[in-house]
Structure formats: C-alpha cells, structure tokens
Amino acid sequence: MIELRDVHKAFGANRVLRGVNLTIGSGTSVVIIGGSGTGKSVALKCILGLVTPDSGTILLDGQDVTRGDRDAFLARFGMLFQGGALFDSLPVWQNVAFRLLRGSLKRPLTEAREIAIEKLRRVGLKPDVADKFPAELSGGMQKRVGLARAIAAEPEIIFFDEPTTGLDPIMSGVINELIREIVVEMGATAVTITHDMRSVRAIADNVAMLHDGVIQWTGPVAEMDNSGDPYLDQFIHGRAEGPIEAVR
C-alpha cells in the first residue's frame, strides 16, 4: 500500500502540491486525473524519490520511502514514461532488459534477451523489433516497448505517466487494454496519470482528481459520474464553464 500524507512541493513561487493525501491499496489500479500542470507527474516522482517533497510523508507498506535500501525499493517499481524515455543508444531488447543486464537482478545475456523478446511479444511486438533502435519505431511501438520495459522485471507496482498521449484513438485503445490486462495478470498495483477519460474508464478501479495541489475527489470509478463534485463533473465532461478556470 502506498500512502501520501500531507505532501507539499513548490518550485520557486509555484506551489504545485499543497497537501496531497492519498492512499493506494495493494493490487488496485488507481488513476490520477487533473488538468495539465496540476502536479500529477510531480506526485508520482515524489513517490519514486525523483523529486524530493518539501514536507509530508510518503509510505510504502508502512515504511517511509526515504529510508531503507534504495535499490531494493526501486526494484519493486516499473514505470512507463510519457514519451517512452527509451535509451536511444541501445537496441530495443537492451532497453527492455535494461534492469536484467545489470545490478541485483542481473541475468545471463541470452536469458535476458529471451525475457525481453517474450515481454515484447506480450505487448504485441514481433521479435524482429528486438534489434531495432528506438528511433526506428513509431510512437505507438515506442510506447509498447516502454511498457515491456516497465514489466520486464515483473515489478509489484507500476506507474504509467500519460500512457496514451500523442497516440491515435485506436492505438490508445490498444494500450489501455494492454495495461488493464497486464495489471490484472500480474496482480500489480498500478498508478496511472492521464487526462484521457477513455483511459480512466478502461484502466481504473479507483480515481483520484488532483486540483489546486490537493486531491479534490477520490472514489471508485463507478461513482465518478454521479459524484456531485462540481470540479470532477466539469473535468470529466470537458466543460469550459465551471469552477475550474479554463485558462491556466
């Protein structure tokens, strides 16, 4: 279980997180929604320690994430970045097997390659993609490779940062389905950031809306449409009129 307790983070005068409280249960799929620039990515990066919160506590299974063995902590996570964040200088299979080629999870080269090809197959890519470089792939294929890399070491917790941004509707649907299938299949805890409502309905067990630096609303996805929260209503229906200022 991941818990964020009163997490604050500011960049200069810009107070991005102003007291975020959120609990993510083990084995559940939580989608964090909110407008651009509301701090969704910052919240995820705070959990991973890529950004240090100004105050507040983040707990993983009751343990403060800033304490303990950092390698062991990170080994529990996989992450799909918004732009894929694939390493340009490495072929696809080495991107996927990156974690299996070094560090505590190191495997023999041939075994790591086999696992990479199997994970590529799992996300719908053929083995011949393995020896290509990321620059040779389309945006959708890069997302799939990023997804394969996120699941390669079979992590307990997977973060998805805007998994469908920049993809056409069909490819978005494919990625959404893949994420849902993989999360269910692995029994992993999933946290997804998106403002694509199709993704929310396809992926989420629970939804949390981040607005003005705090969690504005949280609850099961089934209750989202009848929440009675004017902020959430405006966001999920994409209305220009409402309590959220359209120009930010």
């Binding site: 320690g49 890529l50 990170l74 080994a75 992450m79 970045f81 390493f87 974690r99």
Partner: protein, 261 residues
C-alpha cells in the same frame, strides 16, 4: 539612494548565484570522483566513452598538431632570423609543442568536439526523461553516464596529446626539411638533444587535467540542462565555453606550478 540600493542588491544576487553555482559544480565534481571507489563500475560504458572521446578525436587532434607544428616552424624560423638563430627551430618547435601547444590546442579541440557532444547527449536524455528512467531502473546516472565519460577523457586526452606531440613535431620536421633547408638528420638530432623528459611529461599531465575538465563540464551542463531544444542548446554552448576558458586558466596555473622558478 534607492538606485544605489537596487544596484548593490543586484550585485549581491549575482554574487550569491555565482557562488551557489560554484558550490553545485564542486559537489558534482566531488561526487563524480567519489564514485570511482564505489561499485558498480560500468565497463562497457567506459570502453564506449574511450572510443568516442579518444579514438574518434585522433583525426582532429592530429590535423591540428600537424598544421600547428608546420606553422610554428615557419614562425620561429622567421623570428629566429632576426637574431641569426635559425638553428633553434627544431628545439623550440618540440618544446613549444610538448609543453604548451600540444596540450592546450588538443584540449581545446577535444572541448569543442567532446564537451559539446556529451552536453547535448546528456541534456537530451534529461529533457526526454531518460535520466529519470535510469534512476527508476535502479541505475545511478552519475555512475552510468558521468564517471565513465570523465574517467575515459582523463585517460584518453594525455594519449591524444602524446600522439599530437609526435605529429606536431613531424609537421615542423616536414616544413623544416622541405621549406627551410634543414637536413633531416640534423633536425631530428637537434629535436632529441634539447627535448627533456619533463617537457613531455608536463604536457601529458596537462592533457589529463584538460580531459577531466572537458568531460566534467559536458556532463555537468548536460545534467543541468534547461527544458526543450533551447535548454539543450544553451547547455551545449555553456559546456564548450566553460571548458575552453577553464582549460586556458588551468594551463596558466599548471605552467606556474611546473615551470616558475
């Protein structure tokens, strides 16, 4: 009065920002060196950096040394003729190249080629979240990106300087023999007679320091790159300028330390 106060406040802010920048850079340099003693060491990355920084810089450093050696021979001959001292050409070319021009010009050429490419590569990795991805994959970016490049440059640039010294002396030799009527044997004998081991070794030490500066500036500015294409462009430019200025400053300090009496 308020104008003076704002002026002083602006100076104070700039000074504090400069000191903070120096502090960040010092911490970055210290952290890089400290990783030498802490495993893991990424050998493949190191060997790759060695090829990129050392082997692939050979043509540009070699060409620079060749033409510099030739031009130096012509200049010293012309200057020496004013004092009837044309015969000093071989020894001055050798000493000038090994002590000063070899390491400094080699360092500056490597700065132009390597600091820019390191800063642009790491800066792009930063803005495309590849550095964050490394961290989430349990890989320390300082160990994986910075240390191999800094170590490779520190070891490769002295070798480049050594090769550059030989090629530069060869450039002087070719001009001396073909244009200035020196005998081939006499030119080489004079070069070897007057050249001391310390002339060469001091240049190689300078090369190691310049290599360290070049790679460190490339990595530091890449890691601290701003967002977008403009941020990466700015980081690349700053890395080359800072590396070049630091090379020239370090050259003066090292020359004082090595040769002042």
């Amino acid at each position: 009065m308020s104008f003076i106060l704002s002026f002083l406040a602006a100076i104070g802010r700039s000074t504090l920002a400069w000191l903070a920048g120096m502090g960040r850079f010092a911490i970055f340099a210290g952290e890089t060196v400290s990783h030498l003693a802490r495993p893991p060491f990424y050998m493949r990355e190191f060997l790759h950096a060695l090829v990129q920084i050392g082997w692939l810089s050979l043509p540009v450093v070699g060409m620079t040394a060749l033409f510099t050696g030739g031009a130096l021979a012509l200049q010293i001959y012309a200057g020496g003729a004013r004092f009837n001292a044309e015969t000093v050409v071989p020894s001055i070319v050798a000493i000038g190249l090994t002590r000063e021009l070899g390491p400094v010009l080699g360092g500056l050429m490597v700065a132009a080629r390597v600091a820019s490419s390191i800063a642009a590569e790491i800066g792009t990795m930063k803005v495309t979240e590849q550095i964050d991805a490394l961290t989430t994959l349990s890989t320390n970016p300082m160990k994986y990106l910075t240390l191999p490049r800094v170590l490779a440059a520190t070891l490769a640039v002295p070798v480049l300087v050594g090769v550059g010294d030989v090629i530069g002396i060869m450039g002087g030799f070719l001009v001396g023999v073909t244009r200035l009527d020196f005998g081939a044997g006499t030119y080489l004998k004079t070069t070897l007679d007057f050249l001391e081991t310390w002339d060469v070794v001091s240049g190689l030490i300078k090369g190691a320091v310049f290599g360290f500066i070049v790679a460190l500036m490339g990595c530091y500015h890449g890691m601290n790159s701003g967002r977008g294409a403009q941020g990466v462009g700015g980081a690349t430019k700053t890395a080359v300028v800072a590396a070049s200025v630091l090379i020239l400053a370090a050259n003066y300090v090292l020359t004082e330390v090595f040769f002042s009496t």
